[in-house]
Symmetry: C2
Subunit: 366 residues, 2 copies
Amino acid sequence: MLQCSMNSSRAYIGNVRVASVLAMCAKRASVRAISTAKALIYERNGDPADVLQLKEQQMPEVGEQDAQIQIIAAPINPSDINTVQGKYPLQPALPGVPGHEGVGRVVKVGSKVSSLAVGDHVVPLASALGTWRTAGVFKAADWHKIPKDLPMAAAATLTINPPTALCMLDNIVQLQPGDTIVQNGATSAVGRHVIQLARAKGLKTVNVIRDRPDWDAAVSWLQGMGADVVTTEQKLKADLASSSLPAPKLALNCIGGSSAAAIAKVLQAGGMHVTYGAMSMQPLAPPTALLIFKDITFKGFWISGGWAKRAGPRAHAALLDQVVQHIQQGHLTPPQLQEFQLSQFAEALDASSTAHKQHKVVFVPE
Amino acid sequence: MLQCSMNSSRAYIGNVRVASVLAMCAKRASVRAISTAKALIYERNGDPADVLQLKEQQMPEVGEQDAQIQIIAAPINPSDINTVQGKYPLQPALPGVPGHEGVGRVVKVGSKVSSLAVGDHVVPLASALGTWRTAGVFKAADWHKIPKDLPMAAAATLTINPPTALCMLDNIVQLQPGDTIVQNGATSAVGRHVIQLARAKGLKTVNVIRDRPDWDAAVSWLQGMGADVVTTEQKLKADLASSSLPAPKLALNCIGGSSAAAIAKVLQAGGMHVTYGAMSMQPLAPPTALLIFKDITFKGFWISGGWAKRAGPRAHAALLDQVVQHIQQGHLTPPQLQEFQLSQFAEALDASSTAHKQHKVVFVPE
């Protein structure tokens, strides 16, 4: 099996290896087809630590429209956990391999594949392909080519959070430089991408986070990315008023409950409120007057099974290319990675549930 | 002061006179300008029974863009009560005259008015003009001409409920004959207009009402208007499934709370949920998954300060003309009226809060 040697500077958090990788896999010359692969497999839905097993399997034949892809890195996202639990709407047939996201390298292509070539670096265009494996045979059309020199941390986490942030800024309401958006959960991965992309587009961001012991550090961190206002749910109205920013046209909600209502209440008349997460597990409770008398619209946003499905693969691929350009232009800071082998899945799952938000837990299959 | 003699068949409910009026005011020949008028006036916000006073005033001069209009009939709507209470977003300057809706007759026009002529029957295009008076001088552009032979009950209640129903069916999502809509509060005035207009357009309606002692009568009543399914919040899912109707594209909510959530849950993916009332006084609590994974959009609808303001007076006038056509084609059954003079405002307010839903309380100023 191929192994990708990372050109990286390494650090440790506790006893967990953290990689800040600047370039992926110097040994591209060694690309060749693979005959067996290991994968994390689950035969029934349940808690991932209980139901996942590492298994080695023969690789299937590469059909004429297929590509054999070696997985370089695949993160653990909340949606992966929910998929194994059976709670996510996009489910693979069982027995299944988890992993909606990741970056791979093409090691063999079918006779009718022209979109990919051996050695290309690729990210999933489709969901639920199962990236928590060393390699697999997939439909070539389900993967999208990215530049080989993209930092691994950016490539491995390219297809969910950054396009979610970019698509919500570009495709829901018409925003002009100088316009304000308001969001909660601003320290989340999507929240941070929103701040950075908004700065690149000349938009102003009002960012709601929970009060916390290291408040000043959190504010500095977000301001360093471009946040214009950082506030709490309780201080939002006053801080927005004293900021002299125009009332927001767009609210981005990943929390729910009272936080979702708070960012709805400061929207301008006719504004748009978009829910893409539900961290508090509380439903929205929008006051009826906001709907009727202030003409606020409440929508949801889901990149994988929603937007991408409606927009089609061409528009989806174009969106991923835009994300790549923003990374190349230095607009987006990739997360730092905590790397685990597939056999370390118990530790990896544990780390993903407690990881510092600046770090992303990834499998680096060996 | 002019008095309009109604060509009506009369009935009594208890000791309240109920008119089923088929034609308004046979004595059109007696139209002439008016020098004094009585009005229900409030100098401060509060409970209408406490703050309203009947006062007689000199009529102001008719400016070149003005029209003097005699009020034939003006209903008591919940929004009128909320306006006097100070709870409605459209507020007249104080001292004010309540009444957003009604029908009048033009008795004098200014030298530059070409849109109206003496003798025309008119309904308000603008809100908060104050129709609870015998006559007034208004900007001519704030009123819209309607046919003189329109039944008074239809004319007096033309500008809020029927255009709300029509506009929600025509302008929010693209509906084709055979498509299903679901609504709660189906026995409300708007709910009944929705049923009747949907039938005229070949749309199927699923109607949620509260369980009640006279269930069979209520079902028959709504089915007589064209309701396809009449059900309760609890039975909605099962009754929709057994109806073989397609999943609804549009949900119309005037209740809020769990009822609003119930009609959201049966929408098809990508469906639209529209709130135009809040009878339960409970906020919506849409499950986040409906927003994110089922792509349901939640909007509000407000004809007076919302749609009409954005669409402009020309589109608003065209909408009222469409309502008139539906009435003339027999698609809409006007409410039966309970008539009161302005001096009987205490009894009228009392009747409006307890009136049977099939009857509308109107002032018939004398």
